[in-house]
Symmetry: D2
Subunit: 480 residues, 4 copies
């Protein structure tokens, strides 16, 4: 069995010496620094649950390479059932972290590269797939956390990579050497970047011949020389180092701890290069990764919605209004929206198909549908949660005041819901709802795995409009 | 192989002599009467496609009783794959009829009774299941079309069956004889009633001990003595006997040809009685049928939406606006909504589970989610279609005027879209969109298989709120 | 006082001998023909209410030309109060007809031409305004019903009028004579066309120099030689000549009785020509008319929604479910949406401004907002109505069967709501809801006074984005 | 002229010595403390604009008591025009603060008490109105900022004030003395509490005879002995003392600086008591205040939306995507929603009516409609803003890193939009959008002036359903 424990995971992060900037200083130890610890904890949950017999069926799988029991986060999907189990695993973990646990990006990168390197070799006679298999075995064996890095800064949106004023606005090869390549550029919004073991870089869009130097996929250790991380801010991040209650979800934080990764002439040995110049395969790779990634949102976000539903239900009980018909109606609506998201993820998985490499791929049209619904329904779930929770969500006193001997008594007295539930319970639930429904998590569901417009453009291409027109014309007596 | 041809189906209907009232007179032959012919044609499509090798995989199945190739519409689901195939079959046929083809109600009735009679016998020691198997074999062998009749008139909604002023407002036993029972009452809104071979009656709601006489399920031939049908009106129904073009979908009509079935002391022999007095199994039977039925709506309505999408796309081409960004955006939205409906149906199927009887049952929570979305998204698809189509949808001249030698020329001239498409094509597409987006089809998606409120009430019961509250409390530090 | 009675109005229509085609034959007398009578009745209501002292304040006004009491439908708005009263009048009448009463198009045409002819004369030295005043006096004095005809067939949407293959696809001058002009072409979707006294034609879009021959506004009697009407079909129109109950709103019908008006070389004397070649004033004229017309939709459609709300409320009582919390919630939502529409119409009126001519003009941005909301909320009101009403909306038996001595009894028995309300009352309410929520009325609210996309494009132009950007930049510290 | 300057306002706050707790310590000077300064600045803007001749017409009024020019925030509405001007003033100021400026609660309290004390005296023979006039003159003369405090903590929502376990959960009289009364309890979520001069307390709900001690309205200086303030937390509040850019709106903050006000046996002299025990007037007072307050939301929130629209438009330009059709469509939608909110506020104002006291009151049904739309559309505006802005909203680096000599260069380089706009401009706009669309401002629009459910319940009462049912029945031939 090739599985790391949560503690081993935390320890392993200490060994990766990297440069992380945040709010004017450097983060030395991500596992203990208060700004990053919650994200480490969320990722650690993926390790913990894999070793819990109760979750083994979903959180682990049998490697088709080694036959060993491995984390499902390093597994190549061997069937539609594998795809479905991935979704269920994501929902399950999200119900235990209430936030992003970051490991899906690596999983999706592995599966995408598995398929695309196979097809590339088949068409071009290259030998990327074997290289990739070696790398995959290493990742599976060590149970590594990989981050799949796709989004380049992009600069002027109207210009392709090679036409940008600054050539570095898309990650690119600056030198080809006998032993490998040197790359420069950056990847933005990178989930789990500062607490992954490996970075798997992929191109951000389909490229043309002129952008050959930007057609690039590879993997490097997260502490490779030349890498620099700038950790982004999140809603209410300062509360992490101010106390506990006001965080809402003190242990696991919110969203996925996104960072800007700067590649300052980083060396990548050839055995870790999986695409280099084959620009005609950038489109398929992007589409593969994005589709796998869209599938996820109906799993993990449904799990997060479950927590929001649970929190407002508990709060409604605490405030004595759980039986009111309008509250019940709103909770039912939240459940309905959540299960709609989940249905999408399940459907695009159970309708998954085998690719030439043997890896299974999600139904791309249904995966897009899933993600597009997430950009709407997660917002509505949050809106309903704020409706049910009440105005105190935005006016709660601080935990420092709650703990103050004198002022605290007044808060206890005046915010007592009068139902037997304690004021602190009420405040804690309020802070959790605030944490999950305000700011960063919403932006993340909007833009992660592609913005709504990206979804719509491709939906139309895959909608078989020609055939639909033909059927319609027949029914109304045209072209009988 | 036990499959009827479409022509055999039409012929078989002539042999069933029944009393059907419509607009003040009687319909003698449903297959040729202009008011009912389109519905017969839609149902006939289910027979036609079963015999088409191209659709064999979806439209037929192997009977687990006889091992013979049978219509999927008489098949007991043996796996999640069977449930998924059912959904795909429904979408496929709906793409060819553009309207309801009515046979799912019988299929759902058969599967529900299969499971519930088994469980009833197991618990109560009755022998309903064997009786039912005999009946099922007969239906499979003859490839009969059954209508599953559930909805009673209900009278005063606040009173149970036995408390109604008029005892007949729920179907009930008026006499128990040695050879069978005599029943009285009515079933409303019955889809496919006037062109089915068999009526399978089931209770409309969970019943208590006091309503024992109303706890009742049985099957009778559609021409059993004492039966009387009153065929309902539909949007623009008179166009069926006025011409062709203005019908929009002249061959297949709109919705499912609903009728009120009156049972005027109808005799049912014991071998066709499947539940009689076992009131505690009425709830499970209703829930079973309703859940199977909710699954359907993500299949057939997605297929109907495909036609609407095809029609507006074809119209946008005919009117030269297919490339406009707002048109493309709206079509993409229609596709998105349609695939969301379909995802729900697929998900509740692939997540289906085996019941004690061996029959597979859909995931009930996801089936509800599917149906609830249909009550919203089908409306929005229609609204968008009317937006794209333009105001002429509501002001088009009649086909009589189009065919008039003099006036017709003016219509041709002035409604010419100027793109090479003909005026008649434009009008035909408009009439099809009108047919599918106005009136009856919308009411049907709202109320078929349960109204929104019914869905919401049960959603909440199946939402595992207790567990969600527990998870939320843990995350915010309550009950650590 | 210059006011016609409803009977005088009906009689006056008989004197107008025009050619109206409908379903293959000709309509001789619109006031008595079953297809058009309801529309005549709806328009007659505007005459009736003007003479009812109870409604005098809203339905009449004092002519600023003659000082006489005139119908508000021929009045030039002299203040924001006049604009507000117009909205209130529209809602009031719509509550009494449950359908379009058609006279607002003429009113809007009169007010638009009043302002634009004034501005045109002022700028170009023409003398259209005096001509128009003479015409206006005539209309006010005789209390005539005018239809404001704007929409040309348009042919290929990508080409301007003068570039169309068929030059007649936009109404244009084919001959200029000493005594007047001869025009050819057509106007589509014309509300109230077959029962107005006068047709006021206006251009359908802003035109360029090349389209000078299409820059054209004038008025002609509705029976001018060369005019031909093709009356369009409406949802369930055949029920008008089949009976009474199934019409739902037997007296006033549905929508506005739209027709295609064909101008086959119609002569217009110069004194009735109000714009001829001054293409640079076509844009302002279209905008003026469209804005006045958008204002209306928050009045009359709110009035129609009031009836839908009233009908479902009455039905909920009849069915004994008026107290259910989900019913109450939906009715409250319908009220909310209706009042939102009304608020828009009131706001664009009370914020109206004086034009150079002295006539008051609505706030154009708020008028667009109003109309855009109508294209959404009227649909939602209908959806909610169908939700509350229940499935019988689409399956009700015909009135012929209800009146059948034998079958009628069964219908009475089985559709009895069991609350004391009669089956017939239940059916009548259902038919009214069907009438108002299915088909034509929805298409009309979508496209009348401009389609959603038209609204959106202009919204953006009038949104003062530059100023908003400046304010935002200042707040975040850019351009301090 | 009785108008304070912004600086005089700030100085005046220093003289009010009150106890304000926040995050474990006390705030001594609200005008300079970093947590409260932005809210003081926002309120100061109301003083500044009143003295700016450009805004004089909207921001000031002529006192009907003294005839002097006073701030509109202390004015009693003398006409519908005054109500309309109030709305326009609120939108105007909100466009300059981008956040709540808090003074409307006082204005609404003054107008409500003006009307209700008049009616109370008229009915009961009391002399509250004259007392109130004296107080009003004082407020107008001194140009004081009052906070209208309504919301009690409420405890167990199922119990009236007098039945609560803790009698203090609703503010009440604990002692009646010759010279005045002593009150105890608290008011929650109080906007502008810590930087107002005066607190005007009103009951939170309609009360019965048993709750006489809780039927209470009065005014006290904000530093009256026994008052204690606990200042609530807001989204990202710590950024106020960490820097400038990351605040987004550094000068004016976000929302209104809500606090919990605890009344620890506070003495109120009789001349400042305006209702004491007259429980039958609590309902009218609550309704009056709530309706005035609902009106506001269509003004100030429209102004805030204007800033959000401006910010995303500026950002779209900076990122070079302002011309994309989907961006334009979304901005148009934001404009549309904003103008819908504004229309509601204008309509309920222009339809305002004179009360017996002479003060004008908004149309209560339309005011509710306005507020209910705000609880939906502000959310949707924010969702669209986050869609347009892009994922960097949730991953932006801190301003400390931007200003770091080394890391700052990398941020400048990689977040450069490549359009000529600077990275800092892009970040500043992003932070402003984050500030206005995340967390507290949304909760505030949801619950301020009443939650959605409160709105819906009363909507129904004022909807004249009886009359609507009557009209509907007539149309379908019932009760002819």
């Amino acid at each position: 069995m090739a599985l790391m424990t949560a503690d081993q995971y935390r320890d392993s992060l200490k060994e990766l010496k990297r440069t992380i900037h945040f709010m004017g200083s450097k983060i030395e130890d991500v596992a203990s620094h208060l700004a990053t610890r919650p994200h480490v904890n969320a990722a650690a949950m993926t390790y913990e649950m894999a070793l819990d017999p109760q979750f083994e069926n979903l959180c682990t799988a049998t490697s088709h390479l080694s036959g060993k029991r491995i984390s499902r986060f390093t597994h190549i999907h061997q069937s539609p059932e594998d795809l479905v189990k991935k979704v269920k695993m994501l929902r399950l973990i999200a119900q235990r972290t209430g936030s992003c646990f970051q490991r899906c990006v690596g999983l999706d990168a592995l599966n995408s590269l598995f398929g695309v390197t196979y097809e590339m070799d088949h068409k071009l006679g290259t030998s990327y797939h074997q290289r990739f298999l070696n790398y995959l075995s290493y990742v599976q064996e060590k149970d590594l956390m990989c981050t799949g890095a796709m989004t380049d800064p992009k600069g002027d949106r109207h210009l392709p990579p090679s036409k940008q004023k600054d050539p570095d606005l898309y990650l690119h090869v600056v030198q080809k050497r006998e032993d490998g390549i040197v790359v420069r550029g950056a990847k933005a919004h990178q989930t789990g970047a500062v607490n992954s073991h490996e970075i798997i870089a992929m191109p951000t869009a389909a490229m043309e011949a002129a952008d050959e130097a930007y057609a690039l996929a590879f993997a490097i250790p997260a502490d490779a020389p030349g890498l620099l991380y700038i950790f982004g801010r999140q809603t209410n991040d300062s509360r992490k180092w101010e106390g506990e209650i006001d965080q809402g979800n003190a242990c696991y934080g919110t969203v996925g701890g996104e960072a800007l990764i700067v590649f300052q002439d980083v060396f990548v040995p050839w055995e870790r290069v999986f695409l280099c110049g084959e620009y005609e395969f950038t489109g398929p790779l992007v589409d593969r990764f994005a589709s796998y990634h869209r599938q996820n949102y109906g799993g993990c976000k449904a799990g997060n919605c479950d927590i929001i539903i649970g929190a407002v239900s508990a709060l409604a009980f605490a405030q004595g209004v759980a039986g009111a018909s309008h509250i019940r109606d709103k909770v039912a609506e939240m459940v309905h929206l959540t299960e709609t998201l989940y249905s999408g993820a399940i459907a695009c998985s159970s309708e998954g198909n085998k690719t030439p490499s043997g890896a299974y791929f999600v139904h791309p049209l249904l995966a897009k549908t899933t993600k597009l619904n997430v950009t709407r329904f997660y917002y509505e779930v949050c809106r309903l949660a704020q409706d049910i929770a009440g105005g105190y969500l935005a006016t709660m006193p601080s935990e420092q005041d709650l703990k103050d001997p004198e002022v605290g008594k007044l808060i206890e007295k005046y915010l007592d819901p009068g139902t037997g539930a304690s004021t602190e319970e009420r405040l804690r639930l309020g802070r959790l709802i605030e944490n999950m429904t305000c700011g960063a998590p919403l932006v993340e569901v909007m833009h992660g795995a592609g913005s709504p417009q990206a979804m719509k453009i491709i939906l139309l291409r895959q909608a078989a409009l020609e055939q639909k027109m033909k059927l319609a014309k027949k029914l109304c007596g045209i072209d009988k």
